[in-house]
Amino acid sequence: MLGLTPAEWTAVTLSLRVALWAVALSLPFGVALGWLLARKDFRGKILVETLVNLTLVLPPVVTGYLLLRLFGRQGWIGGWLEEVFGLQIAFTWWAAAIASAALGFPLMVRAIRLAFQGVDRRLEEAARSLGAGRIDSFFSVSLPLARPGIIAGAVLAFARSLGEFGATITFAGNIPGETRTLPLAVFTEMNRAGGGASSTRLAIVAVLLAAGALAVSEWLERRGRSS
């Protein structure tokens, strides 16, 4: 399809895999934090909000650099992971997934927070009066009612992952087959003599994926509004 070479296909499927994992890793935290910010007032809430939104305004390269300092072999978490489990994160596709998750997280939390704010608290009270505990009422009432917004947030984070470049190249490198995602492949081909055709093919795939994600998100939002 589209005359993609095996290397280009690898970049596309790697991008999808990285984006899916990025969403899967961040979604539980996104739901928890979205709910917390929507429903609770606590000391340091502004600090938490700032931290969540930080990667939205930081240059992605800086985010990638900070992740590298954190997860690198000399980093707090990276050093510990290597020592205890012999795991290396930086410059693997896991690093690409973590970088994508960090960049997509503010968008995801924002959508989920709005979704929970839209859930009528009085319905949660009604659930409690019918014998549902806090956790039960969350899973049987709040979560299903917030679902369209949660899915929209996940789709948004997924689309953001597909476009991630700066943090990925800083934290995960540009290793063919391991961390060379679609945007990195486009960049590499552009800089290679005779890579113009390949860049164009990859760019077309990128446009299709982005448009598809937007269409899904729009459709979910409409469905959420009408029900």
Binding site: D120, R122, L123, E125, A126, A127, R128, S129, L130, G131, A132, G133, R134, D136, S137, S140, V141, P144, L145, S227
Partner: protein
């Protein structure tokens, strides 16, 4: 023993002060008073959604809330059923799933009403597959009642259950509430600012005003003369009628059951057959009083009545009347009282135009 003890003090951010204390063993209790009297706040405190600044709430000897002991039972552990004024149906569940929600989670010791019986009594069978968003106001309220019942509550809390329903359908909802209370014999606390509703449903009335209990007693006592002087609002007449029959001219006639001979009342024109018993409601200002022989007059409904009491109010006089064993009110002027020589014990004839009667289904 169905003893309910509620004592609570609470200051709201608006400055409104709630300070009430009551205890009762009656099974159908009405919290009665004008809006803003604190009725719903008390209901929410019993249900566990409002933590009073100080107080003690106990039901059947089980303490639900006690500020001194820093005790507050979670709302889901109180075994109470709440029918909220705004219904609060789950929009993501069907009618049947809404009904089953509480059934799966019930923890009370009370026996669960059968699902089939509930949907029959509340006429919900045809609606089971639908979403709550497609229901009318009356249907939504029936579903809210059914959903609360299905959780097998030990005490049912009803917050103005007819307020969200259009005026003509209110009587119908009241009949459903009436049926539920009697069929399942579930203790009920009923919040209302509507005299006729309270008179019809409650066997004990707690009158509130400005966050205080102003009176407690039987509906007769509280809604009667003494209550009238303490609570705001006009008295409303509610007459219970039995054995409706169709007269040769096509109109429906129903009787006032009573000890001093039966009195027949002509109902306003209607398409459907009236229920038995039927309730008619009319304002005190729609009642005329006459003494002696009444000559030809267009008012169709005439009952012999005895004046029990004369209560001055708002520059008028409300005459408390007994018709058979029921209580009616007539609003008359000072001048009329003098002219007719009205006084407690005097026999009069009550005249009410048929058009002034409103039939509650």
């Amino acid at each position: 023993m169905s003893r309910l003890r509620v004592a609570c003090r609470h200051r709201f951010p608006t400055g409104f002060d709630l300070d009430i204390d009551f205890e009762t063993e009656h099974r159908t209790i009405a919290l009665f008073g004008p809006s803003g009297a604190g009725k719903t706040s008390i209901l929410m405190a019993i249900a566990g959604f409002l933590s009073p600044d100080a107080g003690h709430i106990a039901w059947r000897g089980r303490v639900l809330f006690d500020s001194a002991e820093a005790l507050s039972v979670a709302p889901d552990k109180r075994h109470l059923g709440v029918v909220f004024q705004d219904q609060r149906l789950f929009p993501h569940l069907s009618v049947e799933q809404n009904l089953r929600y509480g059934q799966r989670r019930r923890q009370g010791s009370a026996g669960a009403p059968a699902f089939d019986r509930i949907i029959e009594v509340l006429d919900l069978r045809a609606l089971l597959e639908r979403g709550p968003g497609t229901l009318s106001g009356g249907e939504s309220q029936r579903l809210a009642l059914g959903r609360a019942l299905m959780s097998a509550p030990e005490l049912l809390l009803l917050d103005e259950p007819v307020a969200a329903v259009d005026e003509p359908r209110r009587g119908a909802i009241l009949s459903y509430v009436d049926r539920i209370i009697h069929e399942w014999d579930v203790p009920t606390l009923y919040v209302s600012h509507h005299r006729a509703e309270v008179q019809r449903l409650a066997d004990w009335v707690i009158a509130l005003d400005g966050g205080r209990v102003v009176q407690e007693g039987s509906p007769e006592e509280v809604l009667g003369a003494a209550g009238l002087a303490r609570t705001n609002g006009e008295p409303v007449n509610l007459l219970r009628l039995v054995r409706p029959v169709r007269s040769p001219d096509g109109a429906w006639l129903a009787s006032v059951p009573g000890t001093r001979g039966e009195v027949s009342v002509r109902l306003p024109h209607r398409d459907a057959d009236p229920s038995d018993p039927t309730y008619v409601q009319f304002a005190a200002s729609d009642v005329m009083l006459a003494r002696g022989e009444v000559a030809k007059l267009s008012a169709r409904n005439r009952f012999p009545a005895r004046i029990e009491e004369l209560v001055p109010r708002h520059g008028h006089i409300f005459a408390a009347l007994s018709v058979a064993d029921q209580r009616l009110w007539a609003e008359v002027t000072n001048d009329a009282v003098k002219d007719l020589g009205m006084a407690p014990g005097v026999e009069v004839t009550c005249l009410v135009k048929t058009a002034a009667l409103e039939v509650l289904e």
